[in-house]
């Protein structure tokens, strides 16, 4: 294991410091050298292999975990969005219901108001008719009472006057006439 680590470290060092390798060869600029190309290729392949061996799984795992996290987050966000949408729908529904309820209450109030106005009007009419009727009856009774009192007073006065006249002017003949009338009445009664 240690050896493997050491090799990997050497390879990494060689790979990551190509300028050093080139300098060690002590050459200046060389163009079209196969050795250099192979070196670069090997170097590159080593680099790719190292990447493939170590970095790729880690990266893959990282991105897999990241994707999973993102998916979870997205799922949560979606659920939250759906929940929010549902709440919004419910709120909208309630708002719509509230509106309908408000309209219903307003309509009921309007109906009740109309009914109460009609009732108050009817009661007012009835009370007015009753007051009028009572007033007419009272007036009639008062008038009748007054007429009766006047009639009584007149009759009393007439009676008193008649008595005085009788006392002053009564004669024996009148008594005889009255008695004769009385006897005639008795005769009529006997005949019945």
């Amino acid at each position: 294991m240690k050896a493997r680590i050491a090799i990997v470290a050497a390879l990494l060092g060689a790979t990551l410091t190509p300028t050093l390798a080139i300098a060690a060869e002590g050459a200046g600029e060389e163009h079209g050298s196969w050795g250099a190309l192979i070196f670069y290729v090997i170097n590159f392949l080593l680099f790719v292999g190292i990447l493939w061996k170590y970095a790729l799984p880690a990266g893959r795992n990282f991105f897999k975990a990241r994707a999973l996290g993102i998916r979870e987050t997205m799922s949560k966000a979606d659920a939250a969005f759906r929940g929010a949408q549902e709440v919004a729908n419910r709120a909208a529904e309630r708002m719509a219901r509230l509106e309908a309820e408000k309209n219903q209450i307003a309509s009921d109030l309007a109906d009740e108001t109309v009914f109460q106005i009609g009732r108050i009007y009817d009661l007012g009419q009835e009370a007015a008719a009753r007051i009028k009727r009572d007033a007419e009856l009272s007036a009639t009774a008062l008038a009748e009472n007054a007429r009766r009192r006047v009639r009584e007073a007149l009759a009393r006065a007439a009676g008193n006057l008649a008595r005085e006249l009788v006392v002053q002017n009564f004669k024996p003949d009148d008594q005889t006439r009255l008695l004769r009338g009385f006897v005639e009445k008795l005769g009529e009664e006997a005949g019945q």
């Binding site: 009766r148 009639r151 009584e152 007149l154 009759a155 009393r156 007439a158 009676g159 008649a162 008595r163 009788v166 006392v167 009564f170 024996p172 009148d174 008594q175 005889t176 009255l178 008695l179 004769r180 009338g181 009385f182 006897v183 009445k185 008795l186 005769g187 009664e189 006997a190």
Partner: protein
């Protein structure tokens, strides 16, 4: 009108003693005289006093009867009444007897109240009118009441026949006042 079952029984008993109308009439007058005396306040108070013994009461009534010169049957009647403690009922007995006698003789008593003293002719006319109604001979008792103003009020066998001017005026007044 004073009347009771006791008075009727005694009156009927006295009436049953004779069939002679004249005698019954005479007894009626006698018992009426007796009732007037016995019913007078001073005599009634003495006769009803608890201090007077039964024997004294009977003796007193006997003396009254003697003083009034009552016939034997009426005197005996008075003694029987006294012995049964019915002196207080004598007036009612006299009244009942008079009524029974009137029925027997076919006559009725009428109380006539005039506004003024009537002439004999007027009185006779009224009595005749009442006789037509009652179909009996009328024995009138006359009273005067000036408040009647005119006419007459007759009371006959429990009925009132009102021919007075005061009543006519009162009727007219009532009709006028509606």
């Amino acid at each position: 009108m004073r009347s009771s079952k006791v008075a009727k029984r005694y009156a009927r008993a006295l009436m049953g003693l004779s069939n002679d109308h004249a005698q019954l009439e005479a007894w009626g007058a006698e018992i009426e005289r007796l009732a007037r005396i016995v019913d007078s306040p001073e005599v009634a108070a003495q006769l009803e006093s608890p201090t007077v013994t039964h024997a004294d009461r009977m003796a007193a009534l006997g003396k009254i009867a003697e003083r009034l010169d009552l016939s034997f049957p009426v005197r005996s009647f008075a003694v029987v009444v006294a012995s049964h403690g019915r002196v207080r009922e004598v007036a009612a007995m006299a009244e009942t007897y008079a009524r029974m006698l009137d029925d027997l003789m076919g006559r009725a008593r009428a109380t006539l109240t005039f506004a003024y003293q009537p002439s004999d002719e007027d009185l006779a006319r009224v009595v005749a009118g009442l006789a037509v109604i009652a179909h009996k001979k009328i024995i009138p008792t006359n009273n005067i009441d000036a408040s009647l103003l005119g006419g007459v009020v007759a009371e006959l066998e429990g009925k009132i026949y009102d021919g007075s001017l005061a009543t006519r005026l009162a009727d007219a007044e009532r009709r006028l006042s509606g």
